[in-house]
Subunit: 336 residues, 2 copies
């Protein structure tokens, strides 16, 4: 692997394909002049989007196939071996690239990455992890949808992976605080899996703070929130939905009368600052952790700004050698 | 049972006990002059809060014990047989009251109500259901935490109960649209339980629209969202947490500079209208459905306005004879 950091980009994924990924990669290439970027996709489309001025640290790689959002993961894996997604993951496998980024079909990306890269030793299942804005800054939450059900051991592995990300990438805490998502009703403190995971975590060398509830995700009590992919996915989408409902209601209320529209003008600086703070694009770029390689999933519907954030996550994880750090931590901490 | 509707109120429950429940009951008694209210709790405290002018349709019933927030549900059930909570439920059991309301310990309320009232025929487990604000108005979501795990049959019974509430209490639709909460990742469309529940619902005579995701709770695609109590509780708290984070950030941004404070004044009408729309107190009052009697749980930390809303839910369910309607619908629709 060359000394220069190298990021492979599936340029065809996402709702708007190369029209987003190419300018985002060019912007990232200007931001990180010491990193190489390879755009993978249909040559003609890449060239058209690149236009004349191409930064020296951006190159293109032709791939004839595209994984569609509607493709079944199994079919994408078996039949689209020359897709931009597959080629990006292959570059990580052969260690030509340090990380890859895709805004494509989540299921296909997970299945292909899992098949090609395999798991890190000590990790049974990959998990999807992302930053969530919180009072303390942000929280890493996982799994966000890779596993509809999880064993206690898998939840405990997720806790280690989340801790590595929080400690190495955010650097806020040497020993990030880990919480296990549960429900608060006294009668039934969760199910058997959550209880068993609780016991594993309490016996581990992680900084485990115990059970947390859904609203604690946004508190400054924890740096990492662990849950299964079913609960995590529903919770993530529920909070996104709630935020969108509030944003829409705010817009409606401010456009109801002429006076309120005037009020909006006076309030605009504060409202813009709020929008920036909770902008979901800022948190774009989820990691598929546990794999033997770095795979970053961008939201399919994101824009240039959002895709650039996902590329930044890839650069950050590659710089910190996240998979190696996870393997190291798992060897050390999960002798359970 | 007398012809007059009669609501029993556990006056001692919640963070602020009689100081909230008593004035809320008095306000409700003025709103519903054709409904009788019985306040249950320590006579001296009830009298002190009632003061001089007591509406004719409010009476008091002395109960020496109080279930504390820290009491274990089992202990509350076994040892506090003269608690205000237990006496309120007993009045529903003996059919002296048509419904009861409590802001007390959720686990104790559920355990006691389950033990005293028993289940409706055809329902295996009680579920906690509440209205959630949405684009279309609101959505009934259940279970919100009574059952950490559920069988497909139980989820299917929840769907029937949610449909009855949506049809009879909201009256918006004769055939409320029911969605089953699931995750969207293509690779793994949920777990076996969700798949089996999906098949049961598709074969039922409910207006089942299929799987929905976390953000669909707020859409106008569905009137009822069904899920297990673990996922439902986490999702509910996650959305509440997200809303609170946004509200706090809004307040912060508007108080950052003198100019922004001025901007706030101009924006206040719109912001107040927003606050009213998403005010969680408006949605206070969750039902414990599936029991052979109406039990409404108020949020423990609510205020007079919020507690009054919970009482209104009790009146509405009592007027509509919800338990009988559920039993009737279950006999008709769940021959699976």
């Amino acid at each position: 692997m060359s000394a220069l950091l190298h990021i492979a980009i599936d340029a065809m994924g996402g709702d708007r394909g190369a029209s987003i990924s190419v300018p985002a990669a060019v912007a990232a290439a200007r931001e990180f002049s010491d990193v190489r970027f390879t755009l993978i996709g249909r040559q003609a489309e890449l060239q058209r989007e690149l236009g004349g001025e191409v930064p020296a640290n951006v190159t293109c790689l032709h791939a004839a196939d595209v994984v569609e959002m509607t493709d079944h993961p199994r079919d994408a894996l078996r039949r689209k071996k020359d897709s931009s997604m597959r080629r990006a993951i292959d570059l990580v496998k052969t260690k030509e690239a340090h990380a890859c980024v895709s805004a494509g079909n989540t299921g296909a990306l997970m299945a292909t990455a899992h098949f090609v890269l395999k798991m890190l030793p000590g990790v049974e299942r990959p998990a999807i992890v992302s930053l969530i804005p919180s009072r303390g800054g942000h929280t890493y939450m996982l799994d966000l949808g890779a596993n509809a059900s999880c064993t206690p051991e898998q939840l405990s592995q997720f806790a280690v992976m989340g801790s590595v990300l929080a400690a190495d990438l955010q650097g806020a805490h040497d020993r990030p605080r880990v919480g296990l998502l549960n429900i608060g009703a006294e009668e039934i403190k969760g199910n058997d899996i959550v209880q068993a995971a609780h016991n594993l975590l309490a016996a581990s060398d992680l900084n485990y703070v115990g059970f947390v509830e859904g609203d604690d995700i946004f508190s400054d009590k924890v740096d990492v929130v662990v849950t299964d992919g079913f609960t995590g996915n529903v919770a993530l989408k529920a909070m996104e939905g709630a935020a969108r409902l509030i944003a829409d209601a705010l817009r409606e209320e401010f456009s109801r009368t002429a006076l309120r529209k005037l009020g909006y003008l006076a309030a605009r600086p504060a409202l813009k600052a709020l929008r920036t703070r909770i902008d979901p694009r800022r948190y774009n770029g989820a990691s598929m952790v546990g794999l033997n390689g770095i795979v970053i999933k961008s939201h399919g519907g994101t824009d240039l700004y959002g895709f650039q954030r996902a590329i930044e996550v890839a650069v950050l994880e590659a710089r910190n050698g996240v998979p190696a750090r996870i393997a190291q931590r798992l060897g050390a901490s999960l002798e359970v």
